[in-house]
């Protein structure tokens, strides 16, 4: 019997290396952001960078184990993992201590477990399992409802923890559902709602409704000879009434929001408010200019101007010390990472792996968009880590498991090749 080739020959090295490089960039950046001259050693575990180093070590060990396991442990027990994390999400509501307004952590003494981070991974598994078992696609409403249910349960539980950022990530699964059968119109409707939301924050509902009415009249005018004129009008009136109700209710909701939430939204649409975070973030980025101030030379990010400089705003430190080049490189690495996973998923003939790969791209993409988006001031400030870069054990562990699991699945591609 021929000796089967070593597992390391079957790994997708470009993907693995990209992920590892991102982790190393993260470590260096955390070191720079939290640099403490009294503790210059990167492995000093009293400092954030020392702790991150330990987490990276743990992730690598875990990754090595996952790569050497059969990927069936993920697919077969997918619902079990999903269920366990759902339980933890419920438990956390009762026993968690409130930190920064969110009740998201279970304090284990040595480690603060954040179940919502792992919920992203288990939801990917759950969805992959459900969709890969389907006999037909998600164009059927009943199947779609089930898939939506898998997403919405953890979504609501995380929302109940006041962890807005993590909850938003679950919305990205819409792209997954679309890929596997959900109608394009739902995606377009989603975009439409987002655009209307932004517009109604910017404009008074009156203008919005008026312009919708004008639009409907114009469309009706150009189609006045059409047989379907009545249909155009009915649809137009329906959409207009939706816009009216929606924009007015956004106004009402804005009144009910907490001050800091309102501030964040108002800052974004240029209506003032307390934009301290965003301004400081832009200042730090701007200070970097083309090639950055250089390693450990950043002042803005280092000198506590930024809150969460090692976690949510870590991209600022990259921007300040490595400039536009550094930012471009990191963005490039993320794009490559996601594209590579999509490419490998499409090649895979196991539907579970294919859906799973898609799912984790959705998660990565949402983190990528929200985190960098808020750093450059395009998205409201929502606390959400940058995958593999931000300081934090739960997040790093969760992403490592996600990626290594996919690498393992991908390495098994030959089994399914017929």
């Amino acid at each position: 019997m021929a000796k089967s080739p070593s597992i390391f020959n079957k790994l997708d090295w470009p993907l693995l290396m990209t992920f590892l490089i991102l982790m190393v960039i993260g470590l260096i950046t955390i070191y720079a952001a939290g640099y403490n001259p009294d503790h210059p050693k990167i492995y000093d575990i009293s400092q954030t960078y020392g702790k991150q180093l330990i987490w990276i070590g743990i992730c690598l060990v875990l990754g090595f184990i996952i790569i050497n396991m059969n990927s069936k442990v993920f697919s077969v027990f997918a619902y079990a993992y999903y269920g366990i994390i759902l339980l933890l999400l419920i438990v956390v509501l009762f026993i968690a201590k409130e930190v920064n307004g969110a009740k998201a952590w279970i304090d284990l003494g040595f480690f603060r477990l954040q179940p919502s981070e792992f919920a992203k991974f288990t939801t990917c598994l759950g969805l992959a399992y459900y969709i890969s078992e389907l006999e037909t696609n998600l164009a059927y409403a009943k199947k779609l409802m089930m898939a939506l249910g898998i997403i919405i349960i953890p979504f609501i539980l995380i929302l109940a923890q006041h962890d807005m950022g993590s909850a938003l990530v679950f919305l990205s699964f819409a792209f997954l559902l679309n890929r596997f059968g959900m109608s394009d119109y739902i995606i377009f409707a989603g975009f439409f709602v987002i655009i209307i939301s932004i517009l109604s924050l910017l404009l008074s509902p009156v203008y919005l409704i008026l312009s919708m009415v004008v639009l409907v009249i114009i469309i009706a005018f150009f189609n006045r000879k059409s047989k379907d004129l009545d249909k155009y009008i009915i649809v137009g009136v329906a959409i207009t009434s939706f816009v009216a109700i929606y924009s007015i209710s956004i106004d009402l909701v804005m009144d009910k929001l907490d001050k800091h939430q309102k501030d964040r939204i108002n800052v974004l649409v240029g209506k003032g408010g307390n934009d301290w975070n965003v301004r400081q973030s832009k200042i730090a980025l701007g200070a970097g200019q083309f090639s950055g101030k250089g390693f450990l030379k950043g002042t803005q990010s280092k000198m506590n101007f930024l809150p969460a400089k090692e976690t949510d705003f870590i991209f600022c430190t990259i921007g300040e010390e490595w400039g536009f080049l550094g930012c471009g490189l990191v963005i490039g690495l993320y794009v490559f990472l996601m594209m590579r996973i999509l490419y490998l998923s499409e090649k895979h003939s196991s539907k579970f792996s294919k859906v799973y790969g898609y799912a984790i791209v959705c998660v990565l993409m949402m983190h990528f968009i929200i985190n960098i988006g808020m750093t450059v001031g395009l998205v409201p400030v929502i606390g959400i880590p940058l995958p593999a870069l931000s300081y934090g054990g739960s997040s790093l562990l969760s992403f490592s498991v996600m990626i290594f699991a996919f690498i393992r699945m991908d390495s098994e591609r030959w089994i399914y090749t017929s």
């Binding site: 679309n178 200019q289 083309f290 101007f305 499409e346 959705c362 450059v376």
Partner: protein, 616 residues
């Protein structure tokens, strides 16, 4: 199972690419095009710290320090640094604040900024600050900051020296283009403090340091080559003699009124007292907010600077200037005699003389007796010099001459809000009497009653003209401005105004004023060894008892001091105002009060016409 939508991968790929480019474009703009963020970055990491200058000190004419600075402290807090286990009860005890204040202030601090220092508590005094500093290691996130506050060691001259307080936003805006003030800066609010604000203020210093967002100074930037030391405000020398200032305020205890003393040869104000008054230290630092409204609302109006704002009929004190004008106009000669029948007839009515007395044979006797009919006749002669039908022309001449004494104009003292008083002109009378008026209609002007109103400062100033025999110098309270190692004279205020009247007339009137004290209405106010000249006044007013007025100078030859005193509702001029003026003059000229005068001093001090209290 068949995969039917492989092309839909483009949707998610498109979103990823779209956002990546959006971010790159945005970063390109922030990092390479927009300079706004680059500049701010410098501001933040390299911070300019303000160093407050010491405000100029004020000395009196004998170089006694009368206004200086002491330290007060502010406690700052940086919310993000505060320990969750902070011992709040200890902190509240140390700073003598309540738990409620603590919670309220922390809430405000949190709202303002989590990362920037916020003024947690203002106006912390020395002992509280010491206690706080002892335990500072327990109060993570808190630190102290020094501020200068004013101190008035003599506790007097409240409205004269004024006070300082935090600048309000409208004033900041006024100086916005020069960045003179920042929110929270102190600015002069009253008296000398506000008039000489520009000199006293000094200039802020700037220290450029590397700080983090918690405002923790990490070191000096570029070895301090961009730093400016603060420049202390200029020291001023007031013309005030703090001894007689103190005496004057003591004499006005529980009385409404004012005393103003001027050195006639220089126009330097020696004392400017108001009653009732308060300790200016009350308005220091945080107490200002507490006491200012109370003072403002007090029914005796202690914030009203009567010396330069109070408008009173000058009463009989007006007879001396009025006589001088009549003499110079040629309406009378110094030996003008008038038999006082006890009243002065005005049509069917008459104006009474205050007392029975021998006929007045000349101007000296008229003044000595303060005879009302005598001076009504003098006034009538002045405005009917040429012809009783053409009295309006003469009235105009009289009006112009009398105003030369400084009535009906702001004298230009270096204090704000001086009032100009009033002497009616012909236009005014033509208007209210519809041209139907005659000398007798306005006859009460001759005895300083009627429409004529003057401030105590104007009354004193008009007697400076008599003391100087023909001129006055703009009264001023600041004598010197410190420069080049000494006080340089404050030339801005040394303006001489001539009053063209013959010296002979001044001599005769001065003789008369001396007789007033020697044998006339103020004979109880003689000063042992010093010839005090002056004139009593009893101003009738609609607010109750007459105002007691005395204006005089001493000594008779080369007068050193002119004093005007008015005690509201104090009765006749000889009763309160004259002895006050004599005590002031004696104290100033003899450097102390002889035992004989001390009795007079305490009896006046203890005479309470009002019961002035500042409620707690």
């Amino acid at each position: 199972m068949q995969d039917i939508f492989p092309q839909r991968i483009k949707m998610i790929q498109g979103v990823i690419i779209f956002f990546s480019f959006l971010f790159l474009i945005n970063l390109f703009y922030i990092q390479l095009i927009d300079n706004k963020y680059k500049i701010k970055a410098k501001d933040n990491a390299i911070k300019e710290l303000i160093e407050y200058p010491s405000r100029g000190l004020i000395y009196d004419r004998n170089n006694k320090l009368i206004v200086h600075n002491t330290n007060q402290f502010e406690i700052m807090v940086t919310n993000a640094e505060v320990d969750a286990n902070l011992d709040t009860s200890q902190l509240c005890k140390d700073l003598a604040i309540t738990q409620d204040y603590f919670l309220e202030s922390m809430k405000k601090a949190r709202k303002a900024s989590r990362y920037r220092p916020y003024v947690f508590l203002k106006y912390v005094d020395d002992s509280n600050y010491q206690r706080f500093q002892e335990h500072i290691f327990k109060y993570k996130g808190f630190f102290g900051q020094t501020r200068f506050v004013r101190d008035y060691p003599y506790a007097n001259g409240a409205l004269l020296f004024g006070d300082v307080g935090e600048i309000d936003s409208s004033q900041i805006k006024k100086y916005a283009d020069t960045y003179t003030y920042l929110s929270g800066d102190y600015i002069g609010k009253n008296g000398i403090e506000v008039y000489y604000e520009d000199l006293l203020r000094g200039q802020r210093g700037i220290r450029t340091v590397v700080v983090d967002a918690l405002n923790r100074v990490k070191g000096s930037y570029a070895n301090g080559e961009n730093d400016n030391d603060p420049i202390a405000g200029k020291n001023l020398q007031a013309s005030i003699d703090i001894n007689i200032q103190t005496l004057g305020e003591e004499l006005l205890t529980n009385k409404r009124g004012s005393i103003i003393a001027i050195e006639p040869s220089t126009g330097e104000v020696l004392a400017l007292c108001n009653g009732p008054t308060y300790d200016p230290n009350l308005l220091r630092g945080g107490n200002r907010n507490k006491y200012y409204p109370k003072l403002l609302l007090n029914k005796y109006k202690p914030l009203y600077n009567r010396a330069i704002q109070g408008l009173y009929p000058p009463g009989s004190t007006f007879k001396a200037p009025s006589a001088l004008v009549a003499l110079q106009m040629g309406a009378i000669n110094p030996n003008f005699a008038y038999y006082c029948p006890g009243y002065y007839p005005i049509g069917k009515k008459s104006l009474k003389c205050s007392h029975r007395h021998a006929p007045c044979r000349n101007i000296e006797e008229g003044l000595t007796q303060s005879c009302n009919p005598y001076f009504c006749q003098v006034f009538r002669e002045s405005i009917e010099v040429s012809n009783s039908k053409r009295f309006q022309k003469d009235y105009d001449r009289w009006y112009k001459n009398i105003c030369r004494f400084g009535y009906r104009r702001k004298l230009g003292i270096d204090l704000k809000n001086e009032k100009r008083g009033n002497v009616p002109d012909t236009a005014y009378y033509n208007k209210i009497y519809k041209n139907q008026w005659r000398a007798t209609t306005v006859i009460s002007l001759g005895i300083g009653q009627g429409e004529i109103l003057a401030t105590p400062l104007q009354m004193a100033n008009s007697y400076c003209v008599i003391a100087n025999k023909g001129y006055y110098i703009t009264p001023h309270v600041i004598k010197g401005i410190y420069a080049n190692g000494k006080f340089e004279p404050n030339t801005a205020k040394k303006i001489k105004v001539n009053v063209p009247i013959d010296k002979l007339y001044f001599d005769r009137v001065t003789d008369g004023l001396e007789m007033v004290v020697q044998a006339g209405t103020a004979r109880a106010s003689k000063i042992e060894g010093i010839a005090l000249c002056g004139k009593t006044g009893t101003a009738q007013n609609p607010h109750g008892e007459d105002h007691s007025i005395f204006v005089g100078f001493a000594p008779k030859v080369n007068p050193k001091i002119v004093i005007a005193c008015i005690v509201e509702n104090g009765g006749g001029g000889g009763g309160l105002a004259a002895p006050i003026v004599s005590l002031m003059a004696e104290r100033y000229l003899k450097d102390s009060l002889p035992p004989a005068s001390l009795n007079k001093y305490s009896s006046i001090k203890n005479r309470h016409l009002i019961n002035f209290q500042i409620d707690e």
